[in-house]
Symmetry: D2
Subunit: 285 residues, 4 copies
């Protein structure tokens, strides 16, 4: 079972005393720090911190925290977020014809490895229904054509809003979301791209990799931004290939990469371990 | 000590009977096959093979082989090469201000791990002399400016020709060779690029990688072709990095990648394990 | 879809002419070799070969092959096997309370990635039924106690024989099979052990790994032999861990290793890519 | 160039307020924390922390620190150490007939990648002299026989003491140090063992690995303790091998593992990133 904890994420200009001020604040409100992680980036002069605080005995809760915390946050010019892990993240998983990633995610959710509450699985392919409904997850068939794309996205957005979805996971969705849709979930849409980005962005990356004759294939999980395949990277991995591997072998080997890399990125997000800074991520693992 | 063997490399259209014809030929001339490796590529309809033949008892040598072999080679429309491993490859190593790759290669040559005869180490930086001469390897200081580049290359080419150099290794040379120079050594110049190509081709790949926020860095060893950083890839590897790694950490971690990847590519070449097909390589490892 | 091919596996004393004789035989019977792989082991003086032959046009089939082949097999003192890939392997998967490996295997079978015909899933835990039956795979609940073990094994063996099972996969079965059961399936029972064998053989390997403070965990897939966790190894992999990883984190990270390593071993077996030699395996990959 | 910083290592029972007390102390003495890392281990109920403090402006130095710090250290029952990185560690490297590890370490020292001051290279093989003296490192030839072992160790110990050596690195020394010698440098002797410990402890691990038919080889760097190959592990890595790899190939592939794993362990030690707890290490990387 995942731990029920408060997670405090801080991003601010780097200067002396931040850790002392923050951890002193927690102590003064009877909080016990279970995990702490910091990062000073001299290149940009910024400081980042993640605290995991035991709710047991802590005198503040999500609503009272902001008021008590304001003085320190202002003094150090912090961007910050406190999240209680009491309720798991509400997640929607979008999927296309390939279901290995969604199957893997749902398996991890069911075993408790991934602390997420899957509100729905959405697909433009009705065939994906079989990967969700028999396991007890709601499925939404949302067919799309170039003509209906705007309407489809609007309807899906309403469904997501209605269900309180906080995170959208594109588990090989194969549709490009409109800028409006993306803007609705800033740093809250995670995609898996089946290459080691920035190599082989765009369509058919395994074909591109085969043509180029690379000796490794890769997978990249990243937040979706306005620019295609260009959002902040969360996790990547590679696997060796040889001249013997045909394109279908790259696809087969790639599936194992894709599902582990995507699952890792989603886990990092739902455990509040990621701070986004421009095109880079700070990942407290 | 490396084995002294004949290595036969074959590339031809794929059709039945090639292996039987070739291995039958070897048997009929009292040859013993020590290692055999084949590859049929259905995508391009071509067949590749590498045979390693024990010189002990084999009735043919490098000069008599071609005459005896012609009938089969013609029948199957083969591109082929036979090389005796009796004399190690004559190699020139080009190096810039960073000497980790050349030091690593020379160490492997001295221990016998790399079966090469280093004719000379060439650098436009006289500081590289200290990595070669104390270990007994000839060093050539060949300074270069934009104005003198043509002349410098011409002089170096003459030195290489005079020394019977068969393979040029660019061990972080940091100079772009002219098309004329490259054409002089087709598929016989090996470069190490400090990124996972095709990502981050060109200058300052670690800076590019840092800016993009990737979670892995890479190194790529490839044959040099007319197009910069676009030649056939021989070997690649990656290593994990995090937000904690500054550019200098990427450089440090990258050095270990670069030297192992380059050493691997050079070893594959001097052991006659590579067939080049357009932008792809068949590597019999 | 997997290729329907003949796979010929040969193991014999090493001497000149084997490849020529074998490939000449195939050619003389109008066979086209799709894939060929050889290995000479100078340490033991033995030669191993795998040929994949296109059934299209080949004049021999499984029944006529042995008669035609006998002369060569005898001349070279070969141990050999020919298998038509026309019918996929009949496989039984044994599983205990942990279902990640069986789920992964069944998923790969359903997508066609693993060319196997799952005759049944067997478990001493009825809870495993949910991982098999909803996907259309027969499930056998075979409870076991120390007292009933002999009987249970006997009943299961009869079921396996009746179903024509050729390969037993222990997908985290957690029961030690009797020597009699093991002897019934020589080199045809594949186990996954959740450590890098020979380290941490026996019970609770993640606990052992934690106590020892290793910095990598591993998984090993091997054929089951009379000696516990000592059979010939087929595939292994490792993953990095740190002091931050609690035992439950080792278990979580280990699950991903276990399922990919086991799936790889099963794939190699059903594609007839493995020759067993004492405690070692030759794996033509 | 390595950063000149104070490194504070703390190990104590886990309870609320430690981070606040410690970082508050640093702030109150005008110190700026450059890097901070913590670890709470619920299994053993202990807390570990590493702080890197900018010497610029910090009001305490190594001699005045202890007095000011005592109150907090006592309150939380801390085991602690403060070390100024002003002077690099004094290191002795012991080596046997194989010189790849010592060559690699000395190369990293010369390039500044490894912040160490090599007081001497010690070997029972005079042939190792060539790996040290030409590069300007003092070499001590200390031949040893079973009869002279006690005397040899005594003489070497006196040399080390005289030279102020703080860390002994066994870079493939191949001699077992006596318990008395080991006791002289508790957690200050680092060894590289050429296997993935605890597999293949003792002599000739590559031969053992070959016999067992493993599909990965490994290397392990650990502190030397009274029990052979059983000390706390600092770093490990593995590399894939196949049936094609003869013992000499394992040795060749292993060399690359050994030198990177040992270099990593030594770097972690000289940067004061390791806390030893029984047979486990906390490594703040």
């Amino acid at each position: 079972m995942p731990r029920r904890t408060y997670r405090l994420l801080i991003d601010c200009p780097d200067r002396p005393g931040i850790i002392a001020a923050t951890t002193g604040f927690v102590r003064d409100h009877a909080g016990n720090i279970l995990e702490a992680d910091q990062h000073s980036d001299p290149n940009v002069g910024r400081f980042a911190m993640r605290l995991e605080i035991d709710p047991e005995g802590f005198e503040l809760d999500e609503s009272s925290f902001a008021g008590a915390w304001r003085a320190i946050a202002d003094e150090y010019d912090m961007t910050w977020a406190l999240r209680s892990g009491e309720a798991p993240r509400r997640v929607a998983i979008f999927v296309g014809p390939e279901t290995h990633c969604v199957s893997d995610l749902l398996w991890r959710v069911r075993t408790g490895e991934l602390d997420a509450d899957v509100a729905m699985v959405v697909s433009n392919h009705d065939g994906a229904r079989a990967s969700a409904e028999p396991l007890g997850f709601p499925f939404v068939h949302a067919p799309v054509t170039p003509e209906t794309k705007g309407d489809q996205e609007q309807q899906v957005l309403e469904l997501l809003d209605g269900a309180g979805v906080e995170l959208v996971v594109l588990a090989r969705y194969m549709q490009i979301l409109s800028p409006a849709f993306v803007a609705h979930y800033p740093s809250r849409i995670i995609n898996i791209h089946h290459s080691f980005l920035p190599a082989f962005a765009g369509a058919r990356p395994y074909h591109q990799a085969f043509e180029r004759g690379v000796k490794l294939i890769g997978a990249t999980s990243h937040y979706v931004s306005a620019e295609l395949d260009d959002g902040p990277i969360i996790a990547q991995d590679t696997a060796a290939v040889t001249h013997r591997d045909r394109i279908e072998d790259l696809v087969r080997k790639g599936r194992d990469l894709e599902r582990t890399v995507l699952a890792r990125a989603v886990r990092l997000h739902v455990e509040d371990r990621i701070i986004v800074r421009g095109r880079r991520t700070v990942v407290f693992e």
